[in-house]
Subunit: 312 residues, 2 copies
């Protein structure tokens, strides 16, 4: 049994590899919900949907989010009423959000809604939101405190980040099954997602970091930073903005208290000694996932490292 | 000032004529909401939207409902989750329903939401739902008691109707402005809509029939029955099912207690004597509205009859 902590696109691509080497029934994915937003009364869960669409094979491959071939007729019609259209919610994508909102209004939890939607898309793995309670990631910038999607989508993450805040995190409880999936796993994987705003909110939830430290399972993390660059998104800019070195070594340091295995790219082989000096095992592999085969190979390497792990 | 009691398509076509002969600012339309439904958590008001889209010039002319050129991507995607797709809600049409639902959840009344949407579509007339409270038209059939849209859209009104019920009508209050618009009008017009399920719910609301009887304004009705046939929809079949004659004379009888002027088609000229015998003034005109000019001519004739009315 493998448990994966996941953000959006990077995690989804890694999971495309993992499902090629491990049966879906043996995988639990805990997904960030700090990016969630409400628009036109609909509950939108970008990371959950990216993972669902990707594993269902319907994702828009080029963008990494949304449904392939989707149209935007409803969104464009909403502009007439003054609703914002910068969050590009397609017509088919909207159906998912409508159904989720409908389930929530019927009294279902986000966990239940997420599981039902994943089943409707034919997925057999366990997809868990990190929490059924609201957590809102906000970023401190020179332009003020911004909602995450305002920063990320509307402003295209081109604003320096001075701080990150997870609103509601103190009151939020991990969703049912989250702590159990960490404690009971055969291996835990931190996907190559943004450590600050994708994995960060999950780790900030009460009990999660403790469960990661206490689990008998080995914990591996795949660095989203390769050669001092972020594979995608604002991770590099954010680390910089917070005064941190843009390096796989920084990722290892951020996870150090619960991590066993750090998976870094061949390009970063020179960092292996420093990572090992943190007390971690290092796996040096190709982490850049261009095609299906490369995704499989990365997942295979991570799974082998976890299976071959011989204790702390 | 003219006040029009309206259902969907027939009323909308008549109103297309009325706005050619009377400034929109002088028109109040009271629209049936007994046909309303909730699907996927959205509040759908078919008659209000038909009137809005028609007057805004965006209606699908051929079908008489929905938005011209609309797509159905969201609806088709909702099928994956088990939602019914027989109610053909297009992507742009859905935007209207999403916005309405959003306004209602923000605490606005249906009246306020309807007015806001009408303004967004550039309308200057007053569009009032008959009530802000829920009223659900249901029809008794051999297959049981059916929700109106189940009977009307899903089964294509091909089931004999044994009775009609307006659920919630006893508790429902006319929307703000409804009774005032009837009492304060210079002329009241009952649009050529189904007398049983379009005009019927409005008339069944507490105080409406009394206001129609008491108003100093003349009240004219345009028959939706011509030559013993319904111009569209199930009016003829419904009248038959209830044991009523399918005739403009029946329409006059249904409205007799508050009606002053009955507008019938030239084809029904032979009924004029019998209608007059009910104590009504009769206007014989072309009521079949094929094009813009015919709509204008019908509205002109009705307005003239009302203006020329010389007392009961």
């Amino acid at each position: 049994m493998f448990t994966v902590l996941a953000g959006g696109v990077g995690a989804a691509r890694f999971l495309e590899g993992l499902v090629q080497v491990v049966p879906q029934e043996e995988i639990t994915v805990i997904v960030n919900t700090g990016d969630d937003l409400e628009l036109f009364g609909l509950r939108i869960c970008p990371d959950i949907d990216i993972v669902t669409y990707t594993l269902a094979g319907v994702v828009d491959q080029e963008r990494g989010w949304g449904i392939e071939g989707d149209s935007f007729a409803c969104l464009e019609a909403l502009a007439r009423f003054g609703h914002p259209t910068w969050f590009r919610l397609g017509d088919r994508d909207l159906a998912t959000c409508l159904h989720r909102t409908w389930l929530l209004r019927q009294g279902r939890s986000l966990s239940q809604a997420t599981a039902a939607i994943a089943r409707s898309f034919g997925l057999a793995l366990s997809l868990l939101p990190m929490s059924d309670d609201p957590v809102a990631t906000r970023v401190m910038t020179d332009e003020g405190l911004l909602d995450f999607q305002d920063y990320f989508v509307r402003r295209g993450w081109q604003v320096p980040v001075r701080g990150i805040l997870f609103q509601g995190i103190e009151e939020a409880r991990p969703a049912p099954g989250v702590l159990e999936a960490i404690r009971g796993a055969g291996g835990v994987i931190i996907a190559p997602s943004n450590p600050l705003v994708s994995i960060g909110p999950i780790l900030a939830l009460k009990g999660v970091r403790e469960a990661l430290r206490a689990t008998p399972a080995p914990v591996a993390a795949i660095s989203p930073i390769v050669g001092g660059r972020a594979l995608k998104g604002p991770a590099a800019l954010m680390l910089e903005g917070l005064g941190l070195e843009v390096s796989a070594l920084t990722i290892a340091r951020l996870y150090r208290d619960f991590l066993d295995i750090m998976v870094i790219d061949r390009e970063d082989e020179g960092l292996a000694g420093e990572v090992e000096a943190l007390g971690l095992q290092v796996a040096v592999v190709d982490t850049i996932m261009r095609g299906k085969e490369e995704k499989r190979a990365l997942a295979q390497a991570v799974v082998e490292a976890l299976r071959g792990w011989s204790g702390r």
